[in-house]
C-alpha cells in the first residue's frame, strides 16, 4: 500500500469520488426504486455536486478538515437519509484521521465511523444497509493484510451479499420479505466510493 511520499492530492479524491457518484446516479436510483423511494442516486448526485461547487476551498484544507467540510455539505444538501449517514461517515473520518494517514489510521477511523453510523442509522450489520459494505472493510483494514485488490473484491462481494438480505431499516423495511432479491443502494454507493478511493491511491484515477 502507499506511503506518505506518494500521497495523491486532495483534488483527485474529490473529483474522482464526485465523478463516480454522478455517473452512477441512474444506477443508484434504479436500485432504490426497487426497494426504496427512488431518490438515492439523485440525492447523492446533488450532494457531490454541492461538494464540487466548494472544490476550491476544500482542496486548500488539510485532509481532516476537508473531510469534515465534505460531511457537513452532504448533511445539508443531500435531502434524504443518506445525507446524515454519509455526512456522519465523512465527519467521523475527518475527526479520526491525521493529515497523512497510514493503513492502521484508516482501520481505526473506519471502526470509529462504523460505531457512529450504527448510532445514526439505528442499524447493525445484516440489516441490508451501507454498513454491510463498510463494516467488512473496517475489519479487513484492521487485519493488516489488505491490498487494493483484496479491498475491491471484498467491497464487491459485500455489496452483492446484501441482495438476499431482508431490509430491517429505512424505507425498504416496509417491504419486508419483498426487499429480498435486490442490492441495497447504499451498499452499492459505498462500494463505488471504496473503488474510487482505491483507484486514486493506486494512481489509476
Amino acid at each position: 500500500m502507499r506511503t506518505s511520499a506518494v500521497a495523491p492530492p486532495l483534488d483527485r479524491f474529490i473529483d474522482t469520488l464526485a465523478q463516480r457518484i454522478v455517473a452512477a446516479s441512474e444506477e443508484l436510483t434504479a436500485l432504490d426504486s426497487a426497494i426504496g423511494d427512488a431518490d438515492h442516486g439523485l440525492n447523492m448526485k446533488r450532494g457531490f455536486e454541492a461538494i464540487l461547487a466548494e472544490r476550491a476551498s476544500l482542496v486548500a484544507k488539510p485532509l481532516p478538515d476537508a473531510l469534515k467540510a465534505m460531511g457537513t455539505i452532504l448533511v445539508m444538501k443531500v435531502g434524504g437519509a443518506s445525507g446524515p449517514l454519509y455526512g456522519t461517515l465523512f465527519m467521523t473520518l475527518g475527526k479520526e484521521l491525521p493529515a497523512d494517514p497510514s493503513v492502521a489510521d484508516a482501520a481505526r477511523a473506519m471502526a470509529a465511523a462504523m460505531t457512529a453510523l450504527k448510532a445514526r442509522g439505528k442499524a447493525d450489520l445484516g440489516n441490508k444497509t451501507m454498513l454491510d459494505v463498510l463494516g467488512p472493510l473496517a475489519d479487513h483494514l484492521g487485519s493488516g493484510g489488505a491490498s487494493f485488490a483484496s479491498i475491491r473484491k471484498l467491497a464487491a462481494e459485500s455489496a452483492a451479499a446484501t441482495v438476499p438480505m431482508k431490509a430491517i431499516r429505512g424505507r425498504a423495511s416496509f417491504l419486508g420479505e419483498r426487499s429480498i432479491g435486490h442490492m441495497d443502494p447504499g451498499a452499492r454507493s459505498s462500494q463505488i466510493m471504496i473503488d474510487a478511493v482505491c483507484d486514486v491511491l493506486e494512481g489509476k484515477a
Binding site: 431518490d39 434524504g80 437519509a81 443518506s82 446524515p84
Partner: protein, 130 residues
C-alpha cells in the same frame, strides 16, 4: 413568544407539511409556536437539515420543541438538525414517535393546554402502537 411547547412538522412533502400545519392552526389558533417544512434542498420530495433548523427556530419556545416526522429520512435529518443546535437548545428538542398529522394535532392541543415537553411527547406517542 408564549411559554407553550413549540411544534415542528417535518414531511417529505411541502404540501403535507403545510396541510398538517393548517390543521394544527385550526385546532389551536396562534397560541402554540409552530414551524413546518417539507422537501429536499431542491424543492422535490425529501427533507433538508437546513429547513428543519429554520423550522425549529421559527417554533422556538423556552418550554421546548416537539418534532413530528413522517418517514425515515425525516427522522434521521431531524436528529442531525438537533445535534447541530447550540448546546443550550439541544436538550429542549425531542422527536415524537407518532404519525405526523394526528401527532401534530394532538401534540399542539396538549401544548395549548400548557403541558410540559414530556407530556406533549407522551400524548403524541399514545397514537403509536407500542
Amino acid at each position: 413568544m408564549s411559554g407553550k411547547v413549540g411544534i415542528v412538522i417535518v414531511s417529505h412533502s411541502p404540501d403535507v407539511a403545510k396541510g398538517a400545519a393548517d390543521m394544527v392552526r385550526q385546532m389551536v389558533g396562534n397560541d402554540v409556536p409552530l414551524g413546518f417544512c417539507g422537501g429536499n434542498p431542491d424543492g422535490g420530495l425529501g427533507t433538508s437539515v437546513e429547513k428543519i433548523l429554520a423550522a425549529i427556530d421559527q417554533a422556538w419556545s423556552e418550554a421546548g420543541v416537539a418534532i413530528l416526522v413522517d418517514l425515515g429520512g425525516a427522522e434521521t435529518n431531524s436528529e442531525m438538525a438537533i445535534e447541530m443546535l447550540p448546546d443550550e437548545r439541544q436538550g429542549k428538542v425531542v422527536i415524537c414517535n407518532a404519525p405526523v398529522v394526528e401527532g401534530a394535532v394532538m401534540a399542539a392541543t396538549e401544548s395549548w393546554g400548557g403541558s410540559s415537553l414530556a407530556e406533549v411527547k407522551k400524548t403524541a406517542e399514545e397514537l403509536s402502537p407500542q
